[in-house]
Amino acid sequence: MTRLLSVGVLMGLAAVWWLAASGSVIFPTPPQVLRGMAELAKNGMLVRHVTASLYRVTFGYGLAVLLAIPLGILMGWSPTAFTAFNPAVQMLRPISPIAWIPLAILWFGVGDLGPTFLVFLASFFPLVVGTTSGVQMVGREYIRAAQNFGITGFKLFRTIIVPGALPTIITSMRVALGVGWLVVVAAEMVGINSGLGYLIIDSRNAGMRYDLVVAGMIIIGTIGLLLDVVMRRLETLKEVRWRFVRGS
């Protein structure tokens, strides 16, 4: 029943879109976009663009997870590390990846590395902030209780801090993946000719291919939804289920 509800909302949105787009010169209707998608699927561009974007997001996001989570844990655990790194993190965090494009070209040239770096930047900061607050929010009562049982040092860290922070870390991983995927359009402005972001930019440069612009938007949205479904499965792991009261 709930499933039907979400399908209904999507259908309703498509109907509103169809009505709004009828008679418009720029805004394509759903059938036009479907024809555009079919064209992309037929000439092989769909697979090529989706693979290219997924590849860049996987590496950029993967690298962010590898570096941001340890840094976040350190900042959450050690007040000294927090004082040292937090101003830098908060200063770099609000800068749009678009502003980094000239530097990305300077450092990484043109090719896959530039866009991967931009995705990395976009997902790195939400992960650091999420992990830090996850560690900081581990209940004092758990820590005290563990210490009363003589658990200290690395064991305390492994048995109390990490499991306690994990639910927040997983939520921030979900957010960060969404943000990484969000910046793929901006990231793919950097001298490459593949990817869903490039598809949108290229179709805007073309005369009247707004069907492909919207097709690109819908494909990005759909893949974003699928990635989120996968990430939500992490929330059902037994290590973190204690925090998530409501089932997903």
Binding site: G109, G191, G207
Partner: protein
């Protein structure tokens, strides 16, 4: 403002060679007092934004890329070219310390172009053909023009093709040199053209005529004296106009004076047909487009001289 009090926005994308297009109009008070006011000048950050404003009819007149207008008119958007904006004005830049002396030396190298739909792409293809390079002999990388100087400096590309002032920028900074200017190999090069929407032609032909008269007058004014080019550079460098350094625009205007030309803004069917064939060849358009679909010559034919003597702020 036109005679009936309706405001016409004249839009222009990034880059600057379409200078006469902006000369008749300005936004800021300081500039407004110095140039004739028949339209309001609006600068757009990129070609797609400008194109979308034109398609939607929010903007009635714009300096647009010629192939873009051909394609839009062919797809039923009511737009017509009524005059050219300039000729020449594109460059191929390489690093100063690179060994490249001719286009043939770039075989197997990477060259940046603004987009595969840009006229600069046609310039590159023309040079490829003239130098015996085939498809695949060059790797073309699409970069936004402001990022090209950085990419060349970082050795991310071996050359780049773009409209000014993004060539002059790297040249002025000392690490790049011009390998080709359109004036040397394609002096009649057409890039930005004055484009208006059909309803403006139908409802206010006198305004369109006024625009064309002023664009032509601005072009002639620019070509009559070197001081005029300096004055134009001063006006155009204003933050409300191109917002580029005065020295940079002056460089483009003067080194050499025919880097961008404004004297001959006639509409020639043969030139547009050649451009259209090049567009077909580059797959920018997918079928031949008839000249009369996208050009209205009448305003050019009825053009009358206008006195103009703008002064720098």
């Amino acid at each position: 403002m036109n005679a009936k009090g309706e405001r016409i926005d004249i839009a222009q994308g990034t880059g600057m060679p379409g200078m006469p297009g902006m000369t008749p109009a300005a936004d800021a008070e300081s500039i407004a007092a110095r140039v004739p006011q028949i339209a309001r000048y609006v600068r757009y950050g990129g070609w797609p934004e400008l194109k979308e404003a034109m398609i939607s009819g929010k903007v009635k007149a714009a300096m647009m890329l010629a192939p873009m207008v051909m394609d839009l008119a062919d797809k039923g958007v009511p737009v017509k070219v009524v005059a050219l904006g300039h000729r020449s004005g594109a460059v191929i830049m390489v690093r100063k310390d690179s060994p490249y002396r001719s286009f043939a030396d770039l075989k197997g190298k990477r060259i940046a172009i603004p987009s595969r739909f840009a006229v600069d792409h046609l310039f590159v293809r023309k040079l490829m053909a003239a130098n015996g390079l085939k498809d695949g002999d060059l790797t073309m990388v699409e970069l936004s023009p402001p990022d090209m100087p950085t990419a060349l400096m970082a050795d991310a590309v071996d050359a780049y093709a773009t409209g000014e002032p993004f060539g002059a920028k790297a040249e002025m900074d000392g690490y790049a040199r011009v390998l080709y200017m359109t004036r040397d190999v394609w002096p009649t090069y057409i890039c930005c053209v004055l484009t208006v929407r059909q309803e403006l032609i139908d409802r206010h032909p006198e305004t369109v005529q006024l625009l064309v008269d002023h664009v032509l007058a601005a072009g002639r004014w620019l070509e009559t004296s070197p001081e005029h080019r300096t004055t134009a550079a001063r006006i155009a460098s204003h933050p409300s106009m191109f917002n580029q350094a005065f020295e940079l625009i002056k460089w483009v205007m003067e080194r050499p004076p025919d880097r961008v030309t404004y004297g001959d803004l006639r509409l020639m069917r043969s030139e547009f047909d050649e451009l259209m064939r090049l567009c077909l060849d580059a797959k920018i358009i997918h079928r031949p487009i008839e000249y009369s679909t996208y050009v209205d010559e009448r305003f050019m034919k009825n053009a009358r001289p206008v006195d103009m003597n703008p002064t720098a702020p």
